[in-house]
């Protein structure tokens, strides 16, 4: 079932799955036509078996409670760090996919029906983007992007 909004009781899995679905549906897989049928472009964990690159992994990088919604309130404001890691065959592919992901997330925050804020993911922010390139000509080029969102839990 497609996640359309982050619910208070399932905020962690909802956030990961929502971002995965948004990226999967809006970022073009460069090898969509030749990717094996049992492999995916967007994953919610690092691949444990050999896979066909490029891929995008979306993982949770920690949650911090920024504060409560009021003195007598059980509601809280959480900041959730999400790692979107691009694993690509070369630097150009890595950077193009990173740009596509960032551009999609940046420009789809405030739409009243499909925006991230409407799905309870507020205050989009790119915290860091770090290159981790494996040695050799055939080494996997990856970029680790850390995004932060505020989620209202009530």
């Amino acid at each position: 079932m497609a996640i359309t909004s982050v619910a208070s009781a399932t905020f962690m899995s909802d956030t990961i799955n929502l971002i995965r679905d948004k990226i999967k549906n809006n970022v073009t897989d460069p090898i969509a036509s030749i990717r094996p049928g049992n492999e995916k472009f967007c994953l919610t964990s690092y691949p444990k078996r050999p896979c066909t690159y490029p891929i995008i992994t979306i993982t949770d990088r920690g949650t911090i409670q920024q504060g409560r919604l009021g003195m007598a309130s059980e509601g809280t404001v959480l900041s959730i760090d999400i790692e979107v890691r691009i694993w690509a065959r070369n630097v150009r592919e890595r950077d193009e996919l990173t740009q596509q992901v960032y551009d999609y997330l940046r420009t789809n925050q405030l739409d009243t029906t499909t925006g991230l804020s409407d799905s309870n993911l507020h205050d989009f922010s790119l915290m860091s983007a770090v290159n981790v390139d494996e040695p050799g000509e055939a080494g996997i080029r990856s970029k680790v992007c850390e995004y932060r969102f505020l989620v209202i839990i009530s």
């Binding site: 770090v130 494996e134 996997i140 990856s142």
Partner: protein, 127 residues
């Protein structure tokens, strides 16, 4: 009829606020220094295997390379001297064949509140 309003003590108030703001800045600087060295210690502990992450000690070079640098009064950078430890990125983020160990990012998440507490505690000391 003319009403003459004279506010007394303006220079004294200005001097008081100026002194307090300087004190606040000094206190914040102290807090950033304390927090920076505290986080440096936490990263080292994480590498040494005293936290939830896997232990990353073989020669001890990585552990010894963790630095706290203060580029200006109100910021601290905690990092690794990459000259002797070029593999620090691989340990932190992992690769297609290695699992990430997350010594820095887990330390950041664990201690984000602690850093705010350091600053808050110092600012509260202003009389």
């Amino acid at each position: 009829m003319t009403v003459n309003i004279q506010i007394e003590g303006v220079p004294q108030v200005k001097a008081f606020l100026s002194a307090k703001s300087k004190e606040a800045l000094n206190r914040a600087e102290d807090a950033i220094k304390k927090a920076g060295f505290y986080i440096q210690g936490e990263v080292v502990e994480s590498i040494a295997g005293r936290k939830a992450e896997p232990r990353s000690v073989d020669t001890g070079n990585f552990m010894k390379s963790i630095l706290a640098i203060f580029p200006n009064k109100l910021s601290a950078n905690i990092g690794c001297n990459k000259y002797p430890v070029a593999y620090a990125d691989v340990l932190e983020y992992g690769t297609s064949t290695r699992k990430p160990r997350r010594h820095f990012s887990n330390t950041k998440t664990r201690n984000e509140k602690k850093v705010k507490d350091f600053v808050e505690a110092e600012i509260k000391k202003i009389g």
